[in-house]
């Protein structure tokens, strides 16, 4: 029976998750885009993890034995997870606010149907409200 190495399995998995992430990222609506960013984040986190190499039965501290697993990527992944979590929360909130104010769920705030009238009634000129 042919054995698939763990490296090949993990690499394929990361590739698949990242491919899904990129596909979703290229969608126009904010919700799939946020999902895509999350998927991308998962793929990247596992990728960082594997950069310490995949070991079985190796302790993560220095011992006399020849094999030691690298604990540093795990620390890096923790930091990346925390930052990714915070930014995902923020982008969801921002997308909600934007879809409320701009009346559109698209990332570029375009309207889905040809309802150009709405855009004409209220031209966006909020960029220059003066101080005070």
């Amino acid at each position: 029976m042919m054995m698939i190495s763990m490296e090949a399995l993990v690499a394929t998995g990361i590739g698949f998750v990242i491919a899904c992430g990129i596909y979703l990222l290229l969608r126009g609506r904010t919700f799939p885009v946020v999902l895509g960013l999350t998927m991308l984040g998962y793929g990247v986190n596992v990728f960082i993890f594997t950069m310490g190499r995949l070991w079985t039965g190796a302790p993560p501290i220095l011992t006399a034995g020849p094999d030691v697993a690298d604990p540093l990527p795990q620390a890096l992944v923790l930091t990346a997870i925390v930052i990714g979590f915070a930014t995902t929360g923020f982008v969801i909130e921002l997308a909600l606010r934007s879809s409320h104010d701009n009346d559109s769920d698209q990332v570029d705030a375009r309207h889905d149907q040809p309802s150009a009238q709405i855009a004409q009634v209220a031209p966006s000129s909020s960029s220059s409200n003066p101080p005070r």
Partner: protein, 529 residues
């Protein structure tokens, strides 16, 4: 350790703690006077720290701050060399006037402006001082998260629209950043910049190919942050939509990308990097030259003043990166000089654009004939000064910077391209700003109601003038500044001195035996089943 030894970490902690204090203090109307005072006092103190650091860095000695006294490749370090100190001083030089401007009214348009401003400064200072690639990522995120909120400060449709795109694009770039970091770590087993400077030359083929892929992924990310073509499309809309003081502060944010390119691709993947030497060279110079041209074309086509300035930001980043892409000490010195000047001028221009547009009444910042401004002489002279400096007319510092760059490019194979692009871009910058200036100040329509000067209090004018004044000062003090940038550029090429200062006796090859992960001699040594 004396107080001065702690300065590197204080430069990062001061804005951090100020931000926390401001958050605790709340954001009410009653406490506004105090939040403003604390924020201003903090940036002024930060400027003093930056001055002390640049004073020490000018002696040529690297100050290394080891957090928790852990030896270098294992613990986290902050490193102050001449370039870091220069960037730190530039950040302070922008932050003080911009904050003064923001206290003139913009900080009341949303919540927690001052706290976010301080967090942004913390991220900027940290990114310039850190001696660790992963910490560079963390500080990038700190400054980006603050910038996401600052960008949408004041809300409104335009800001939310461009804000969403800005956040999504930056999150995607952060993912790429992490992949790049992971690849570099996987191939070298370290993220400490000084350690990387020693280890990158040691990596041989075939591992070097993956290492270079990691390096080039980082280049993509930094090019995105610095807004080089084709990754610059986010910048004009974002900067034009942001409020004036935020856009002025963002002028330094693109320079973080430039700094990172310098540090990673100029130094670590630069000369003497063995197989991976000059990884970025085939890409950086052409991309930068194209960026310059695209930036100035965008400036010519801009229909509003903030957009024009945002496109000029892109053009100036292109010029700076072209100088970095020449990979010579003289060109790097020119790049530093030009970077300082263009950042100051562009920040000043963003503030000026709002002063002009509030005095113009109906048309605001649109480049169409309108009623005359209330203070045509003062504002017109300021725009003239900034335009001359940005386009590179003598005796303004923009001219000196470009002259240094042209001289440095003389012996380079791409000399003709560099000369042509820099000169043509300078000319069209002048055309673009002259067009804007003549529409704003001369092409007036007397039938429309005259503008009021309500938008320009003395504090707002002082903030804008001081940014432009610093640019003039850069011309007056050209000789000492040039000596400093020349020494800074030379310091950037000396990777051994950097590694020695940071790693000391314990680091480098000596640390190899205590490291859990070693560079594998055999390509399959990392595999297990």
């Amino acid at each position: 350790m004396s107080f001065a030894d702690h300065l590197p970490v204080l430069a990062v902690l001061l804005p951090g703690f100020t931000a926390i204090l401001l958050l605790l203090l709340g954001d009410g109307e009653a406490r506004r006077v105090w939040t403003r005072r604390i924020a201003l006092a903090s940036v002024l103190l930060g400027a003093v720290f930056a001055y002390r650091l640049i004073e020490h860095a000018a002696t040529g000695e690297l100050s290394v701050y080891r957090l928790g006294e852990w030896p270098a490749p294992f613990g986290i370090v902050l490193v102050v060399d001449r370039l870091s100190a220069l960037m730190l001083a530039l950040t302070s030089a922008i932050a003080v006037p911009v904050l003064l401007y923001a206290t003139g009214g913009w900080d009341t348009h949303g919540r927690y402006f001052h706290a976010l401003f301080q967090f942004q400064l913390m991220g900027l200072n940290g990114a310039f001082l850190t001696g660790d690639l992963f910490n560079l990522f963390v500080f990038f995120e700190v400054l980006l998260i603050a910038s996401y909120v600052l960008m949408t400060h004041g809300l409104g449709r335009e800001r939310l629209r461009f804000g969403t795109q800005y956040v999504v694009l930056n999150l995607a770039a952060s993912a790429l950043f992490l992949i790049g970091i992971a690849l570099v770590y996987g191939m070298t087993g370290t993220l400490n910049l000084a350690d990387l400077a020693l280890r990158v030359p040691m990596v041989q083929a075939p591992d070097a190919a993956l290492l270079q892929v990691g390096g080039l992924l980082l280049l993509v990310v930094f090019c995105f942050k610095a807004a080089l073509v084709p990754l610059s499309m986010w910048l004009p809309g974002t900067y034009a939509a942001a409020s004036a003081p935020v856009a002025a502060l963002f002028a330094i944010m693109t320079k973080v990308g430039v700094y990172a390119i310098w540090r990673i691709h100029g130094m670590i993947f630069g000369a003497e990097a063995g197989v991976s030497a000059f990884t970025a060279q085939p890409f950086l110079l052409p991309i930068a030259l194209i960026t310059s041209v695209v930036g100035v074309l965008g400036a010519l086509a801009a229909h509003s003043l903030p957009r024009l300035i945002a496109w000029l930001t892109v053009a100036s980043v292109g010029t700076i990166c072209a100088a970095i892409g020449l990979f010579s000490v003289d060109a790097w010195s020119a790049a530093m000089y030009y970077l300082v000047n263009s950042t100051l001028v562009i920040a000043g221009l963003f503030l000026l654009s709002e002063l002009v547009s509030t005095q113009r009444g109906a048309m605001g910042d649109r480049l169409e004939p309108c009623s005359p401004v209330a203070q045509p002489v003062l504002l017109g002279l300021m725009l003239l000064l900034a335009a001359a400096s940005n386009a590179g007319l003598p005796p303004m510092p923009g001219f000196i910077g470009k002259l240094m760059l042209l001289q440095a490019a003389n012996d380079h194979p791409w000399a003709v391209a560099v000369w042509a692009v820099v000169l043509v871009v300078g000319f069209f910058t002048l055309v673009g700003l002259a067009r804007a200036g003549s529409i704003l100040f001369w092409s007036v329509r007397p039938d429309m109601p005259a503008g009021s000067r309500s938008g320009s209090s003395p504090a707002l004018l002082l903030a804008t003038v001081s940014l432009l004044f610093m640019s003039v000062l850069l011309s007056v003090l050209a000789a000492p500044v040039q000596r400093y940038t020349a020494a800074a550029a030379l310091q950037m090429t000396d990777r051994d001195a950097y590694a020695r200062a940071v790693l000391g006796e314990q680091g480098g090859p000596a640390a190899d035996t205590t490291r859990p992960y070693r560079i594998p001699q055999d390509p399959n040594a990392g595999a297990t089943r």
